[in-house]
Amino acid sequence: MKFDQFFALAKERGITESQIQVTRSKSLAMSLFHHEIDNYNISEGQNVIACGVVNGKFGSCRTEELDGNTFEFLVNGIIESAGVSEKAETAELFAGSEKYHKKNVYNPELALIPVEKKIALIHQIEDDLFAYDKRVNEVESVSYEEHEGLSEFYNSRGLKLKQKSNYYVLVGAVDGKSGEEVKTSWDLSLGNDLNSFDEKSFVKGIGDKLVAKFGGVQCPSGKYPTILENDVFADLVNYFISSTSSDEVQRQSSFLIGKLNTKIASSKVNIAEKPLTKNVFFSYFDDEGVATMNKDIVKGGVLKTYLYNRETAKKDGVTSTGNGQWEGDKIGIGYGNIFVKGSKKPFADMIAPIKEGVFITEIAGLGTGMNAQSGDFSCQAQGFMIRDGELAEPLNLITLSGNLLQMLQDVKGFDNAMKLNTDSITCADAYIKKMAIGGK
């Protein structure tokens, strides 16, 4: 596309500064059911987001249709959008950061692995899941997806940035039966180096999780010392990080108002954003063209920074932290590659001192059970009782309730089971002094 034509048309129509981002993507996906490929998907897509400044006001427009009229459509959309804006702040686009830490995270080998090999891999996973335990009743699905994307950023101030990336997602899901009891288990693997995927341990993880669930009971309602498995803790940390958005804080919608540089969590809690980590979530510029940077968010329990884009940074008299991200029709706040520091302690050592507690391995319904403004949450959970320092009977159909800030203040420690989840959060299992469990 000839973006100079877009900038020229925008200028001609009174858009003093303009920006255009184009994302091209393609994907391949397939899934197995009963030893046959029952679903095979391929796709190619494109998405254009444009924004600009008209009389100091910000406007935006986006489309997936690229033809001779696209620039006209985008320019008209920006003018209409900016025309009704009542924001007091004067908008301006970004000239560029001093330095960008560009890395090549695209793995060309992934696409070169023959499709037949990928199909053989999911067949192998399915066969091994069926054979794992006689209680495996059905392999609900084994699927492989591969995505490739190219993001391009241009603005009328001459800033030009590009990033190419790719990744795969492998998912295995089973259900099992024991008498009348039905249980499910699943897991996924995410990365862009398929050669390092460990099929045997992937299958074992899903199978072990399934068989351990049989005989689940409800514990009495009450407050228990609680271990949150890494995936569960990551889900909760994700909401906490959302609350560090300066936009939410400035709009008085975050429980972190006025908490900057104060102790908000146990001194064991250290959380950092490291967008420059070389993995599938790597990103070296944000949606305003600002260079991203690694930074501490919570250090020794103290809140060190909010996450800023250029507009919110200006309001607080600081500089952008490189966290500008499209959020509907405006550039809001986003993040990637969050790390919560773990310890060297194995899981068994961490739970050893717990006389009676719970180990939560799965939660459901947090999306609607979380009040992101107050940090209060309540959701469905399952896991195990902990008795005399060891895992005991499985727990099913219980609820986990708490408050995010209270939870972080009650962190007693972490083990060494670090895991990267799909929301780009890497953390270990967390030991919380006490949490409310609802059961019988």
Binding site: Y40, Q46, T63, S85, S378, L397, L400, S401
Partner: protein
């Protein structure tokens, strides 16, 4: 969006390797949203989603692909690449395409896309003023009006004569969110009425003044709410949005996506009693101008009123074309998708528990100690185990038949089989509530609904200790 002659070529390319059904789904969706923050226009944006999805079925196999480039070359390449995943020889040569008549069951006279942004802004400003006047502790008020206009063309073939369908969908939604803060506590309230309707409905029929006031009042009320108790006790659920419990506890588990592969707790339930005999339930995509209604589904089938449960007996599933093959059941107009990037599958539209004979006030009066749930955030379900959860955004304690203090942080969990049998009272005040449902084929607008019901015992989670 494409010519009939190109569609014919693409269908034949797709069917070249033995596919027994091919379909091209073309879509242009223009949407607009205006957002006010504390009474001032924060953003207003338009976006266009545009593309095509091609699907080929071959017995129990399905291949699907999409592209946002609608040129002949792009569509023929996609059809060719998809067809290459089958190795057979042609069974069907499509010779012609006949346009099908689509009956408009959701008429709209005044299109939302024709309404000037300034008029929408004026309405939102009135909403803001009403909410803001409730209390000074309301620190953030958001008012949003979002609307979309979707044009769809479907070409499908499973024989010599292909079919062409054209349809449009148009929906609007008014969203109000109020956040109240006091002494370090923050509570929010959400109102989000939506409809397959024009501007007249939103401006003149919908009681937005009442909703705007309620939005502010409830955010303030819950600032002083106690934490919800936990344990197992009776729960009375109000009409309308309360139907999310049926949506999660049962609806998803009756979708052919789950039942066809025997992955649902209700896979073998047709003819079986799965609910208390006082419970009957429907999924009805034909209710004129409702949020989940449509003239036709994503495969071109006319939408239907499908009974799912009659007097506690399971009498039907929601069946799309592909999963219907495994079930040996006919598709019943429920195949839906978010957009062309998703392969369509069986989904709910307007799903509700039918009215019973009780009165809501009698149900409350007859409950000594329990929880009264009047609004929800939403929920989720594992269709295989039937275990579901949903979170109540507004709940109150019932003592001696009276609605008492509000409680916050309330989650209800259970298994679909258990909870449907435990519904012991059904009132006559059925109503619908609007939401977005996320599942295999993306996020789609659905109505949930029910009259006031009572569940005689269900697990309630909260941080408030025992119910006393």
């Amino acid at each position: 969006m494409i010519s009939k002659s190109l569609a014919l070529k693409v269908l034949n390319e797709a069917l070249a390797t033995g596919g027994d059904y091919a379909e091209i789904y073309l879509e242009q969706n223009d949407s607009q949203a205006v957002t006010l923050e504390n009474g001032k226009v924060e953003t207003s944006g338009t976006r266009r989603s545009y593309g095509a999805g091609i699907r080929i079925l071959n017995d129990l196999k399905s291949v699907y692909g999409y592209t946002s480039v609608l040129s002949a070359k792009s569509l023929l390449t996609l059809a060719h690449d998809l067809a290459a995943s089958f190795t057979g020889t042609r069974k069907i040569e499509v010779k012609s395409i006949e346009k099908q008549r689509v009956k408009v069951t959701n008429p709209i006279e005044d299109h939302l896309t024709d309404v000037p942004t300034a008029e929408k802004v004026a309405l939102l400003k009135e909403c803001y003023a009403i909410t803001a006047s409730v209390d000074k502790r309301l620190v953030r008020i958001q008012d949003v009006f979002a609307n979309n206009f979707k044009s769809i063309e479907i070409y499908s073939a499973e024989g010599e004569i292909g079919k062409q369908f054209e349809n449009t969908e148009e929906r609007g939604r008014l969203v109000m969110v109020a956040a109240a803060a006091d002494s370090g506590k923050i509570e929010t309230n959400f109102q989000g009425p939506g409809r397959y309707a024009g501007w007249h409905y939103f401006k003149d029929v919908l009681d937005w003044k009442k909703l705007a006031k309620e939005c502010g009042e409830k955010a303030i009320l819950f600032l002083t709410a106690k934490e919800c108790p936990s344990g197992r006790f009776p729960v009375v659920i109000t009409n309308g949005w309360g139907g999310v419990i049926f949506h999660e506890a049962c609806g998803h588990s009756l979708e052919a996506t789950a039942t066809a592969k025997h992955l649902s707790v209700f896979s073998d339930s047709i003819g079986q009693q799965i609910a208390n005999p006082i419970v009957s339930a429907f999924d009805d995509g034909t209710i004129p101008n409702e949020w989940g209604s449509n003239n036709i589904d994503s495969e071109g089938h006319v939408t239907q009123k499908n009974q799912l449960i009659r007097d506690g007996i399971c009498v039907g599933f929601l069946v799309d074309k592909f999963n219907g093959r495994r079930l040996k059941m006919e598709a019943n107009g429920v195949s839906r998708r978010q957009n062309y990037k998703y392969e369509p599958t069986s989904r709910m539209s307007n799903t509700y528990i039918a009215p019973g004979k009780d009165k809501a006030e009698d149900i409350l009066k007859d409950t000594k100690l329990g929880i009264y749930v009047t609004n929800f955030g939403g929920g989720s379900v594992n269709p295989t185990t039937g275990e579901f959860n949903f979170s109540a955004s507004e709940a109150y304690i019932i003592r001696d038949g009276k609605v008492c203090e509000p409680v916050r942080g309330c989650t209800l969990i259970g298994s679909g089989k258990e909870v449907l049998m435990n519904i012991d009272r059904v009132a006559d005040d059925v109503a619908l509530g609007q939401g977005m449902c996320g599942s295999a084929s993306g996020s789609i607008p659905v109505n949930v609904g029910q009259p006031t019901i009572r569940i005689k015992e269900i697990t309630v989670g909260g941080r408030g200790g025992k119910l006393e």
